[in-house]
Amino acid sequence: MAGATDTALVSEDTSETEAVAAGAVGLAAVLFALSLASVFELVTITDPVAGVPMVALLGGLLVVLGFAVVTFGVGSRLGYVATDPRPTAGLLASGTFGLIWFVVGGLVASQTLGLGTAGWVVASLVTGGAAFAVSALPREDIGSTLPAGALAVFAGVVFLTGVIGPSWLWDLGWEQQASFNAEFTIPVLTAFCSLLVGWAAAKAYGGFGARGRHIGAYVLVYLNAISIIALLFLLVAFTVLKGLPGLFKGLAFGAGAGPEVTLVGVTFSLPVSWPFVMNGVALLNDVNGVLPAIVGTIWLVVGAVLFAVPLGIGAAVFITEYADRGRFTQVVEIATNGLWSTPSIVFGLFGLAFLVPRLGNQKSLLAGMLTLGFMLLPLVVITSRESMLAVPDEYRDASAALGVTKWQTVRSIVLPAALPGIVTGIILGVGRIAGETAPILLTMSGSVAPPGSQTVDVLGGFQLQYAPPFVTNPELMQATSALPYQLYSLITAGVGQSSNISAIDEFRWATALILLVVVLGFYAIGIATRYYFRSKLQHD
């Protein structure tokens, strides 16, 4: 639906008034940014900005903004501004305004004026009803600007007169104490009012009517998308900033700097020493590290993939290629979707009840692998099935016409064609399970801060014997650590358990960062794979 409304059919000579509305939108944006800055305590509300206290500045700007929008609406109603309004602002807008003013009326009556229950209910109903009527009954230009602008003016006046000043405090008076202070209330109210007025101003900029609503809605939707991305960026950047010092502590390069390793019988020193990922936790370590947890996470993922991927792809092949579409495939679909949304802690409980008693009656790496495998299974089935369904039937028909069997078609036509989707799905699924804490908490959790000597060595642990079960591996049968579990135990551990770690906060943030790097690394690879295959498909 591209570009259907890009050409402004209603572009009359309204550039000046449009500029006023656009200015109001811009002012609302500035106010919104200012209030966010004070919520995050980048500026305090008592700080003077250009000689004016922050509270007064916010209040003053709100009053100006409110008046601008109301003036625009009234001007449009009186015919000074050429717009194209509808007869009414619509039920949704009226309902929202009614509700907002209902709350405002109630709060003022009960908290500021101190009226009783009957008093505030009456006041609420009066203000709410009035706002609803003002919004619903007149033409859209009045209906969508007046209640919004009045709210901004009201809030501004409240801030300016000091009814809600910097020292304002509202104790809710509950048994479990909680109260609102000015530091929080003023910015949040300002942000809310500026959003509301910004929407009204954007609508006015579009000249109300269909085009105005379009612009008003788009402003909010774009703002929402931008905030989600900003939040993501903030989360990742914050973790990186806090985690970097601990992560690279003691990093050294040069021949022979690193620990000795033995590969195929040859012992040599690594040319790099990275203590945080090469050490465990010990009293005598210069820099403590999380090596056991990293190795544990790697083995968990390997085990879960080995268990879930063959099962999942097999199931997907059966329900897409062999089974007729009917009851059975529906049951499988419902079961896999049900498994997919099952909470991770329930998988943990299941592992505790089903796997732990049957695998040596103690928490073990193997139990953790299988539990995560159960979690990965539905995701593999769903994504493999989707990508197999996307393989065109012509491929299958062409292959069948050559006289080969069904399995040969699946093996040499369907699976290769569906492989990109399957691989992407598996990588994304692995990213999800690598960060899961709850299932392994109940099935394989080891010590809080394991020393380097407790690093699991699965490959070296296999032992053959003549009595059943023929192959044993004590490494698989004991508890170990993994990155998410390590982070959890560092958060909840008492002082005694982590006394070996000196700068505990730095250590925690570095652990969080390396967990984030591992998990987002899987996601980045998965997403990149998808783009690679997609661009290749489009080229062909």
Partner: protein, 377 residues
């Protein structure tokens, strides 16, 4: 999507006859040694499963037989073996769900039985879990009430839904209808990565940054509020809502949108009066799935809440946070045994059943929507 079995006898008999005939045909057409191989593999796998269930040390023997039999079958009768193997994997996928149900119900049963109440002489198992309000597993009188945790879960879920539903649907609209191609290619992976951040990292940031900040801002004694757990959990449920709702919006046929646009509507009018109503059920399925995610979210709640089961005073006090069903399990499994451990499994059963119903409900809604739109195409 009628999943209930057809219960009239004649249909069932006919189906059984068809199945029998198909089975006979299959036996007739398959070479005998292939049949033997497959049977041996199936029986040995069943035996291995039974051995595993019975905690037998001999489990490995039938499993080895299974491996040998399938290996032989793979070399000699690949077609049949592949078919049987894929069927086996499918059955085991369903089996996992069944096993989860059976095992957590079995573990939960002792506490349910302990909490039996006689109502007019009729014993109702588990009723006391829901009519008492005190969780006290150690100090007498021993009571395992799940009411405080259910209250916490409900509060957190309501707040999380209030965050995730509107923001998620708006973001889905943006991705599917509004964003230019290049912007979409940037925002979509962003939302996916938001889903990828491990819950314990969210919890850690909440625990170290958000909780102290909230305690300071709202003058709360101690740390941990349902309000901020709800907001964090809402952010975590957001990507689920976005991706499912986006799929639903994308499944509205382009012809419907074009038809509306051809009448001279704006993009936004088309969205509110055509696309959203047509995709309404799919969008509500997305919200349901998001609610399911929020109910089951564990780690953020565990590290951000106080872990002291109890009701908040007053009940709608969201500035205080005790415990949710998930955090109860994660925080107490370590030192729980006997009836207390079993009570944790009851909490697990409640979570599992609730979320399973949400999942099935949303699938039903989606299927209905697909059918409706398919007819319109």
């Amino acid at each position: 999507m009628n999943v209930l079995p057809n219960s009239d006898g004649a249909g069932l008999r006919a189906a059984a006859r068809r199945g029998l005939r198909r089975g006979r045909d299959f036996v007739d057409e398959t070479p005998p040694d292939a049949l033997v191989t497959v049977t041996v593999a199936a029986v040995s796998l069943l035996a291995a499963f039974a051995g595993f269930l019975a905690v037998s040390s001999l489990t490995a023997i039938p499993f080895a037989v299974f491996l040998v039999a399938t290996g032989y079958g793979w070399l000699r009768h690949q077609e049949l073996t592949a078919r049987v193997l894929t069927l086996t994997t499918t059955v085991s996928t369903i089996l996992v769900l069944g096993l989860i149900l059976v095992f957590i119900f079995a573990e939960a049963w002792p506490t349910v039985q302990y909490a039996t109440v006689n109502v007019f002489g009729v014993p109702i198992p588990g009723l006391r879990l829901f009519i008492e309000t005190r969780w006290s597993p150690v100090t007498p009188p021993i009571q395992y009430s799940l009411v405080p945790m259910i209250h916490g879960t409900v509060l957190v879920t309501i707040i999380a839904t209030a965050v995730a539903a509107p923001l998620g649907v708006a973001a889905a609209l943006f991705l599917s209808e509004i964003a230019p191609r290049t912007v979409r290619e940037l925002v979509k992976p962003g939302v996916e990565i938001l889903a990828g951040i491990p819950s314990i990292v969210y919890g850690f940031i909440g625990f170290t940054i958000l909780s102290p900040w909230a305690a300071d801002q709202f003058d709360i004694v101690g740390q941990g509020t349902y309000l901020f757990v709800g907001i964090v959990v809402g952010l975590m449920a957001l990507p689920t809502v976005v991706s499912v709702a986006e799929d639903a919006l994308n499944s509205v046929p382009e012809s419907m949108k074009s038809g509306s646009l051809a009448l001279g509507t704006t993009d936004w009018q088309t969205m509110t009066s055509i696309t959203l109503p047509a995709a309404f059920s799919g969008v509500s399925a997305a919200v349901l799935l998001g609610v399911g995610r929020a109910i089951g979210e564990t780690m953020a709640a565990t590290v951000m809440l106080r872990g002291s089961p109890g009701l908040t005073k007053p009940l709608y006090n969201v500035f205080y946070g005790n415990d949710t069903l998930t955090s109860l399990i994660a925080a107490n499994y370590g030192d729980a045994d006997g009836l207390q451990l079993s009570a944790l499994f009851v909490a697990g059963v409640i979570l599992f059943v609730t979320v399973l119903f949400l999942s099935i409900g949303s699938q039903y809604i989606e299927a209905r929507m697909r059918r409706k739109l398919g007819g319109a195409e």
